[in-house]
Each structure stands twice: as C-alpha cells, then as structure tokens.
Amino acid sequence: MKILGLVIVALVGSVLIYATVDFPPFADPESPASLHVSPRYIEKSLDETAVPNVVTAVLADYRSFDTMFETTVIFAAGVACFLLLRIPRRRPPGPRHFRHRLTGLTFRVKDGENGKEIFLPLREFEPVDSVWTPHDFIIEKVCRYMIPFIQLFGLYVIAHGHHSPGGGFQGGVILGAAIILLSVSHNLRTALKRMREKTGALCSALGVFIFAGTGALCLALGYNYLDYRALAALLPGGPIMARSHGMLLVEIGVGVAVMGTMVWIFKNLASLGRYDEGL
C-alpha cells in the first residue's frame, strides 16, 4: 500500500513537472497573463469596483471563487486539527491543583472515594495548572492593556483593506493573535473564559458561511454567484459601490473564519487536545 502510494505520488509529480515546461518563462512580458489580464486589472479595476487597492479587488471580486475556497481550506485545517488532537475526556486522571485566591497557597486535591471528583469552593479557590508558574505581574498587566488595541487594529486592517494593504486574512490573524496573547500571558483557562471552544469552532464555520452566503445572496437576486452588483438592490450607492460593499462583506467573513480557526488550532495544540490546562 505504501509503495503504491509512493508510485502514484511520483507519477503525478513527474506529470506536474513535465507540465511546467510549457509555462512561459518567469517574468516574461509577452506571456498572456502580462499581456491581457494584468493591464486590464490595473486600468479598469478602480472604474469597475470603486476600490483603489487592486490586490483587494482581484482577490475579493475578480477571483472571489479562489478566495472562498481558500477560506474553506482554512476551515478544513481547523477541523482536521480538532479531529486529530481533541480528546473528549474531561480531565486527565490524577490529582488536581487549586490555589487559594487570598493567600496564594496551592493545594493538591486527590480524588475522593470511588474516584469522585472533589471540588473546592470556587469563590475562594481557583483551579490552576499542574505545572503552574505564578503569573508575572508586568507581563499580565501590559498584555491586558495591549490586547484591546491589538483587536482594534485587527478590525481596522479588515475594514481598511480596500484602501491600504490588509484585508480579511491579515486582520483575522491579528484578531486571533490577540486571543493567543491572552492565553500565553495568563493561561489557557483565562482565554477559554473569553472565547470558548465552541465559539472558536462556530466563528470558523460562520466566516465561511458569510462568504458563501454573500455569493448565494447574489444568486438569489438574479445575478451570478458572487457577482456583487446584485447587492445594489439592498445597499445604497449603485452597482459599482455595491461591488465595493460586497468585498467588505466577504472580507469580514474571511476575518471571522481566520480568527476562529487560529484560536481553535492554538487551543487544541496548547492543551494537547484536553482543554483543561496549557500555556
């Protein structure tokens, strides 16, 4: 079976390499892409879509199918990590640790009779990780004050992708990194309080849904799939502005999907799939 797989991989690989011979030379000005497609995007995209950033216009409008399936790939990556890593068991066997909130004393609590879990009152004790290091005050405080600004910047990058470098992927990564920073600077439990496992997974799916839903909305309004001119019926500004607004909708979807997937994958990796303790 392994040898068969290797043979198939080698065959497909050699066919692909053989096909690259027919490509036009690298950076050839006479190649069809440079002769027809690129000049058209550069000359017409501002008139057609009202978006100054050509990269965003190409990515989210002219080639939006490509971007939609890229978002689907990100979602699939999140699901794959979840299926590979997640352990449904609630907690690992063995004693747990609790810290008294006022004095900072840490207690090691074994299971009661018949393996029943003993929980200390959560008003006075907080559960801590078994390899627990005391939180560093400076890191904790500075991260706490920085995270809102990081998130604000992430939103700015998503919303401003039409005019400056940026867009859904980059903004989503910044938003996800803010949650990961919270997890690294405090602990996994704090980050989970802010964004549950289910929220991450739902965000991941919701982003793809927003993207695909925008396309389906265009279809329902009588245009082609992902032809944002259809949105002129719902949004002010005419068909050209509707393309710009449609791109914004799509970018929001991408951002939500990327943020959810990043946080989801990180939590699976950091807690070894158990979601009880970790970084």
Binding site: M146, F149, S185
Partner: protein, 109 residues
C-alpha cells in the same frame, strides 16, 4: 530645507543605534546580556527613526498629515510598551528554566 536636514540627522542617529544593537546582539557573551542591546537600542532607534519620518511628512501642515504623524508616533508608544515586556518575559522564562547568567571569566556561549 532645515526640516530635511533635521530628518536626515534623526534617521542617521537612529540607524547608528540600530547598528549598535545589532553588533551587541552578535557580540555579547550570553543570552541575558544579548537582550540588553536588543531591547534598549532598538527602542531608541525606533523612536528616532519614526520621529524623523513623522517630521518629514508633517509639512505642509494639514489635518491629514498631522493625523498620519500621530499614527506614526503611536507605533513608538506601542513599541515602548511591548519591547521591554517581551524582553522581561524572555528573561523571566530563561531564569525559570534555570539558565545561569554569564560572569566575568566564563567561556562565551
């Protein structure tokens, strides 16, 4: 003209600090002392370079250019918050992991 001269001086001095930071990063004997140029000199280098850049685009003075200058200075604020914290976190992690600081006479690591 005078502004351009000030900008050039600021940029050059900033780059000098960056160079010092890089040399220190390469030449200092151990982990903890290498963090010293990485944190401090990059901080002052960022301050001078971005001060120069925001001064450069401030003229002619309009609302837009003033806001852009403010945005640039915000980068400095966040670098000044984040860079010492990152250095502190790395030092903290090194100490917790049991890494001994370098002393005079020890071999270089």
């Amino acid at each position: 003209m005078v502004i351009t001269l000030i900008v050039v001086v600021l940029l050059l001095v900033g780059l000098l600090f960056f160079t010092g930071g890089t040399v220190g990063l390469l030449r200092f004997p151990d982990f903890y002392s290498r963090l010293h140029p990485a944190g401090k000199l990059d901080g002052i280098g960022v301050l001078l370079v971005i001060l120069g850049l925001s001064l450069y685009q401030l003229f002619p003075l309009t609302v837009a250019s003033a806001v852009t200058g403010l945005k640039l200075m915000l980068i400095v604020v966040f670098v000044f918050l984040a860079s010492p914290t990152a250095t502190h976190a790395i030092t903290d992690a090194g100490l917790r992991a049991g890494m001994e600081p370098w002393k005079k006479g020890d071999p270089w690591r």
